[in-house]
Amino acid sequence: MKQFLSFIRKEFYHIFRDTRTILILLVMPILQIILFGFAVTNEVRNANVAVLDLSKDVATTRMIAQFQASEYFTVNQVRSPAEIDAIFKRGKANLSMIFGSEFADNLLHTGDFSVQLLADATDPNQATTLVNYASNILAGGLSNEVATKISGGSVSPQIVIRPQVQMLYNPQMKGAYNFVPGVMGLILMLICAMMTSISIVREKETGTMGVLLASPIKPLYIILAKMTPYFALSIVNLITILLLSVFVLGVPVAGNLLLLVSVSLIFILTALALGLLISNVVDTQVAAMLISGLALMMPTMLLSGLIFPIESMPAILQWISCVLPVRWFIEAVRKVMIQGVDVAFVLKEIGILSGMAVVLMVVSLKKFKIRLQ
């Protein structure tokens, strides 16, 4: 036991002596939470609209004023259609609105008015959202114009279905609710899997692994001692992330905290086992970094549902995502932390994660070579 403790102390020294890395490891989660929480958002605000008003009458002036008043849009007036094209190509506007000539007159008398929305659809989601918002403002403005001018016109039977929309769990539709669980998965994966694999391989590369293996301590304890500091670091980061998300981002822990922590612990073990497995198959630090970077970090960012919804992917990628432990972790955390569901609803995720943890642990410990070539 005493030997084991001194091994753990050695590993802590290794980490703490590299101040730059430890600083990054501690600052990274804070920065990611702040960036994802405040900066990485799809909420529309102050989108630039280029308005071409060929009519310049009361109706169009009133409607443009409504756009100006809206927090979603910033209005730029332009004078010719050619100008709109140039503005789009420079990327200075996302939407443009063209009012045809004699707008108010046509709207009230012939009904043959023309208002056109042109959206820069290079970003399809933003374009759709902007068009939705702009159409709503326009529709409201148009019906006001018609209503104020025509009184006592023919009333025809109209049917209106009014949807009452309710946003569950995240009424303000903040991006942070979606990203916090993902950031947790990303950080834990980075520290547990990537760092562990690199630090074990470094001992192989510098030749000190031979010294360790020749010492009277059991190989299993060497591995456990390697994992302990990273386990501790993960716990520190987990606490930082949770505190930040509750107190800075205002994302509450809606469910059971104990359940959340247990799910995270299972995931940390899985990630540590993955790191160990990688260190078994490679011999150089560069290879360890590239494998953990390409085979772990890239899929974690792109296939785990962190940024991109899994349901939108083709079936084959959805199957691949099922193999990633981080996918199940993120799903479980979203359910427990954001939706606040009972343990019964996350049994599937917990079961899969535990299964993966056990299998990976057994395989990587079995494959650990106690003799060097």
């Binding site: 590299d18 890395t21 990054i24 490891l25 990274m28 920065l31 990611q32 405040f38 900066a39 799809n42 909420e43 989108a47 630039n48 140039a86 190509k89 420079r90 990327g91 996302n94 609105m97 056109q116 042109l118 959206a119 659809a121 290079t122 399809p124 989601n125 374009a127 759709t128 959202t129 068009v131 702009a134 159409s135 326009l138 529709a139 018609v146 025809s156 039977p157 279905i161 949807p163 009452q164 929309v165 309710q166 569950l168 769990y169 995240n170 009424p171 539709m173 903040k174 979606n178 690199i198 470094r202 630090q285 970094m289 590239l290 390409l294 792109l302 940024i307 991109f308 919804p309 992917m313």
Partner: protein, 373 residues
């Protein structure tokens, strides 16, 4: 002198067991898989319906919703709590509740309410999903009005989506993925290069030669510049063959000028990222450290460049950060040229910004390279 140094660098890369494979396999893999994964398109929204009215009208509405193709009916629940359960179990994304008296109210007053509850953990999905649903309901209401002999005053603007008329998310992501590819390959490899020589001790041999600092950095830079062009050309090929995406739009509107513009900007951008990589490499003592510092910067740069979420949605302080991020400018150039066919005269600010970054980072790399400790 510099010729031999460059020859050495190329030989080291070509003889490496892993790097040449990586340079060819990474772009292919990335562009084959990632456009499908990096997809924020909202489709296949899983719908749970509570139909308390069960009338001909409500059933017809359901058929219309399913026929739209955006929604998949997962279950018909008998009550609101039951529908909430299917959201909590992760089986449904959105609930449509049709209250008892839906058809009766519609016949009597013309007004009728329905309740939409969306799982807003992913705010964007909930927002777009519920607005799709609402617009289908509006269509249905108009259809009913016309059947009843009413006239529909269509106070809707004409909408046109430019540059990406099919609202294809892949088209939006492919130029961005090319930027990511160049950043990762030509940023990380130089970052590991000089520090690798430090770790293996070969840097001492270079330090005792009369090589000038500038020559040394240039020789380190050039191979990655060439690699960058190879990677970019492979990417162009894949985008054209697989996704029928050409610089300046489609195969028909393809322009040599657009292609040359991209190569020019890419040439400068490669100097920027490789310079950053070398700068970090100079300041690092171990490969692990270099890797982490680089990872740290690249992560921030990628999140803050408008790749995933629009810059205009960010708060002001975050927009200020994007202004000092080289990726922002290159991302804008790639998307503008690829999708909108913008020409160089429209992208002059980006040109100057990238040139500035290239000079700063590379002068920094030359100055920070020290031959003595």
């Amino acid at each position: 002198m510099i010729r031999f140094l460059i020859e050495k660098e190329f030989k080291q890369i070509i003889r490496h067991s892993f790097l040449p494979k990586l340079i060819f396999a990474f772009p292919v893999l990335m562009l084959l898989v990632m456009p499908w994964a990096a997809n924020q398109e909202v489709k296949n929204i899983r719908l749970s319906v509570v139909d308390s009215d069960y009338s001909t009208e409500s059933q017809r509405m359901l058929h219309k919703i399913i026929a739209s193709g955006y929604f998949m009916l997962t279950d018909i629940s008998t009550s609101h709590p039951q529908a909430i359960q299917s959201i909590e179990a992760g089986e449904a994304d959105i609930i449509l509740e049709i209250p008892n008296g839906f058809a009766r109210d519609m016949a009597k007053t013309g007004f009728t309410d329905v309740l939409i509850s969306a799982n807003a953990v992913n705010g964007m999905k909930a927002g777009l999903g519920s607005s799709y649903l609402a617009s289908i309901l509006t269509d249905y209401a108009q259809e009913l009005s016309i059947e009843k002999g009413g006239s529909v005053s269509s106070l809707q603007p004409a909408v046109k989506f430019l540059f990406n008329p099919h609202l294809d998310y892949k088209v939006f992501m492919i130029p961005a993925l090319m930027v990511m590819l160049l950043t990762m390959l030509c940023g990380f490899l130089p970052a590991l290069n000089i520090v690798g020589e430090k770790e293996s001790g070969t840097i001492e041999q270079l330090n005792v030669t009369p090589i000038k600092k500038l020559t040394f950095i240039l020789a380190k830079l050039l191979p990655y510049w060439v690699i960058g062009f190879i990677v970019l050309t492979i990417s162009f090929g894949i985008a054209a063959l697989l996704y029928h995406l050409f610089p300046g739009g489609s195969a028909a509107t393809w322009q040599v000028a657009s292609l040359l513009t991209i190569y020019l900007y890419a040439g400068i951008y490669l100097l920027v990222v490789s310079g950053l990589g070398l700068l970090i490499s100079n300041y690092s003592a171990t490969m692990q450290q270099a890797m982490f510092v680089m990872f740290f910067f690249v992560m921030i740069l990628i999140l803050m460049c408008g790749l995933f979420t629009p810059i205009s949605s960010m708060p002001d302080w975050a927009q200020a950060i994007t202004a000092i991020n080289p990726l922002t400018y290159f991302m804008q150039v790639m998307r503008a040229v690829y999708l909108k066919g913008s020409s160089m005269s429209e992208l002059l600010p980006q040109l100057f910004a990238l040139l500035g970054f290239a000079i700063v980072f590379n002068v920094g790399a030359v100055l920070s390279y020290r031959k003595t400790n």
